[in-house]
Symmetry: C2
Subunit: 104 residues, 2 copies
Amino acid sequence: MFKDLDPILHSQLRLAIVSLLISVKEAEFTFLKEKTNATAGNLSVQINKLKEAGYIEIVKQFKDNYPQTICKITRSGILAFENYVQSLHSYLQVTPIDKPGIKK
Amino acid sequence: MFKDLDPILHSQLRLAIVSLLISVKEAEFTFLKEKTNATAGNLSVQINKLKEAGYIEIVKQFKDNYPQTICKITRSGILAFENYVQSLHSYLQVTPIDKPGIKK
DNA sequence: GTAAACTAGTTTATAACATAAACCAAATTT
DNA sequence: AAATTTGGTTTATGTTATAAACTAGTTTAC
């Protein structure tokens, strides 16, 4: 009936990160922070969870004297995202008695 | 960029409950328990959260000598669900550089 | 040249959440 | 009448998400 939702991706911020990384392939920490409106601390924690899950790769380097953290989606991350979206459908494809919402 | 996801609905079990209630309009506790594979305790907690959010109504009565808990979606619950689904789209409509997943 | 402010993060503390386990009250079965 | 089942609720515990505090260094202003 309802498929389980990957708990790694069923998080607003992590889903946004993965969504972004699928479209851009590679992004700086600061880019992700701006696009997601996350706090730095939260972002730091969440990209590490994604890394531990194997969904992204993290490369740390220096750029113009400053530390720079680059994130990249992995093959496994792409597959997990696609699978998550598929599973979500089982919750959204509702066959309502009334057309949902709009007018009784 | 990314729309906020209603935290009441961004929960696997609560989303499943609301999804069900939209399709059936009214359901018994035991029906929800079977369909969602939730434990009774968890279901009890989560339907109360949905009630407190005003997304469902709960009616307690007796049927054939046994207590019976009936859940019904509210107008507000339907709207919240529709809104949640809309917001979700902002995370899923990705414009990937490569077609996501399937082959490089 | 040093104090103040800023960049780019990480770590830690706290509050909210999900869940299972334990419990309750009554009904039914043996 | 003891054991089991129904239909739940409450409580305890571990997991999450988040903000706040902190680290380490850089740049700017005086």
